[in-house]
Subunit: 337 residues, 2 copies
């Protein structure tokens, strides 16, 4: 499988929001909470709740025991935004700028020259090879501990160009509620992203409530070595695993070892894990987030260079998978809305 731009370039910190209980009349003894308050009433919200009720009801023939309640979610465009470019690309660019003072030769050398001059056209013209070089230079050559600190510092300080907020505040409130709701019903939630594992882990655990070992993504190779008496893992400039398209079911099997029963995604890169989820022996739910909100977020699908949603859209319609219309289904997009 050939790595595409999508698979190499991806990238957030935020607050975990718990469900807000709907106020109940005092005479009502039993407290009824809406587990998905940012979801408008409609077929998608009903389908999610019905699905969870069925698979958790041990009297129902479609009951699924907790160990098999595996839910997988793409990250970019599914749990947080991915426009105007994958956030991991902004990270790579900022990293190159931060490193530039030690590399005067970059002023004349592509793709670094393009990055330093803010020339996105020249950056794109450097092609896949240029972008791989960019990512390897910005993501490799240090220990894993050092890289974790670099990502942690960046996510705490960098701001999204449109919203002027830290990237990890651009997560979808309805999806945070969905993650909480599934976990409250003994689902084990995983991220299965084309983005870099080590780019996500430093912040995603706190934002999504998903432990580091349940975050699967693309990776570069690493090497264990003892440097001046100190055991270290060093990041090498070599691709290890591309967790996108056909790679997603492979990553699921390798890291999780079970076929999921719930799959959330937003692009053609998620199609294969949708197909894989749909073909298991248990009742399953495939949920595609469709970016239809040009005002609060962005609207894009079949023609987009980022998060292209074309074949996936056709299959979702043909198979009756749940297609979330962001504009109509969500009464809130970001926690800060």
């Amino acid at each position: 499988m050939k790595p595409s731009l999508y698979t190499i370039l991806l990238a957030g910190t935020c607050l975990i929001f718990s469900c807000q209980p709907t106020p109940q009349p005092i005479t009502e003894q039993k407290e009824i909470k809406d587990p998905l308050p940012s979801w408008n009433e409609g077929s998608n919200k009903t389908a999610i709740i019905d699905f969870v009720n069925v698979v958790t009801d041990d009297q129902n023939p479609e009951y699924v025991k907790p160990l098999d309640r595996i839910a997988v979610f793409d990250n970019d465009g599914t749990l947080w935004s991915e426009q105007p470019a994958y956030f991991q690309l902004f990270f790579a660019i900022d990293r190159i700028k931060a490193m530039a003072s030690d590399h005067p030769e970059w002023n004349e050398q592509q793709p670094f020259k393009a990055v330093l001059e803010g020339d996105m056209k020249a950056l794109v013209a450097s092609g896949e090879r240029g972008l791989i070089e960019l990512v390897m230079t910005s993501h490799a050559g240090m220990t894993t501990d050092e890289f974790e600190q670099i990502v942690t510092d960046w996510i705490a300080t960098a701001k999204h160009p449109r919203f002027d907020k830290p990237y990890n505040q651009l997560v979808y409130q309805p999806m945070l509620e969905l993650l909480d709701y599934l976990r409250a019903n003994e689902f084990k939630t995983f991220i299965v992203s084309g983005g870099g594992i080590e780019f996500m882990r430093p912040w995603a655990e706190a934002v999504y409530g998903i432990p580091k070992d349940q975050i699967v993504g693309s990776s570069i190779k690493t090497k264990f070595e003892i440097k001046e008496g100190v055991p270290q893992i060093t990041r090498l400039p070599e691709l290890d695993f591309i967790d996108d398209k056909e790679g997603k079911p492979v990553g699921i099997w390798k890291f999780i070892g079970r076929r999921p029963i719930f799959c959330g995604g937003n692009s053609d890169g998620d199609l294969q894990m949708m197909q894989y989820t749909a073909s298991g022996k248990y009742k399953s739910m495939m949920l595609y987030v469709h970016h239809t909100d040009s005002v609060r977020e962005w609207a894009y699908d079949r023609q987009s260079h980022i998060g292209q949603f074309d074949k996936g859209l056709d299959e979702a319609k043909a198979n009756g998978w749940n297609l979330v219309n962001m504009k109509d289904d969500w009464n809130k997009v970001y926690p800060f809305d």
Copy 2:
């Protein structure tokens, strides 16, 4: 890193035994349970309990919050036996025998001829190349679902040559108690084994109480494909990752994303993950199982071809790591003892 025999050939189903409470006088109101009843009183048992008490006491300066309580365990020789050969080798041999009727050419072709004739000397003479061929032939070429069923059937029917019991009954009762004890104290327990991930997962979850996604091991490559309309993952005859020696810390970082604070092992293949665990920022415990019981189990260390324990033994002594003397520290080896 060159794959060694150790790294390619490894292999178990059993009952999970919960801790037996020590009988208490009726006048004693507070029930005091011994969490490690199969461990004799002594410095190792005391060290385990002291370690757990310290890192779980939020008033202690060495307190470690639950998310960072990562415990990793080797499998062969640490959680179950590995003599007279790695159990996964017995599986591979049985598999070749089961496949032989479709392969008459194997009667004249090494290493298959050696396996079919029970000629271990000739099998060893076929070298690493022969053994890799044996493993690839027995472990690849089918879907992951099919392989899972093959392993499940084998573990339910095959018997260990010395004990005449299913291999997964040859697990160490004291280690089962240790796993339970750590989990009861909010440790997350992982297996990090040189053995094959997909050889362990079908049975290890039930035996050790460790979920499939917390089982890390060596792997071969797989491929997602849609065969006659059915999405499948097929196992390919190509090594993907060797989770042994320097590979163990690499596997820990890739699959878990945190440095462990507790590491259990038994051989030189576990040394690097011991070093890695020992060099973290939190208080940590390194526990080596030393095979010293030639009567109830086996006695071997520096000279053994399986589970060689030489450099690791030196480092354990030099660094004051805990060295479990199986003969003296364990009042029970197997659950059936």
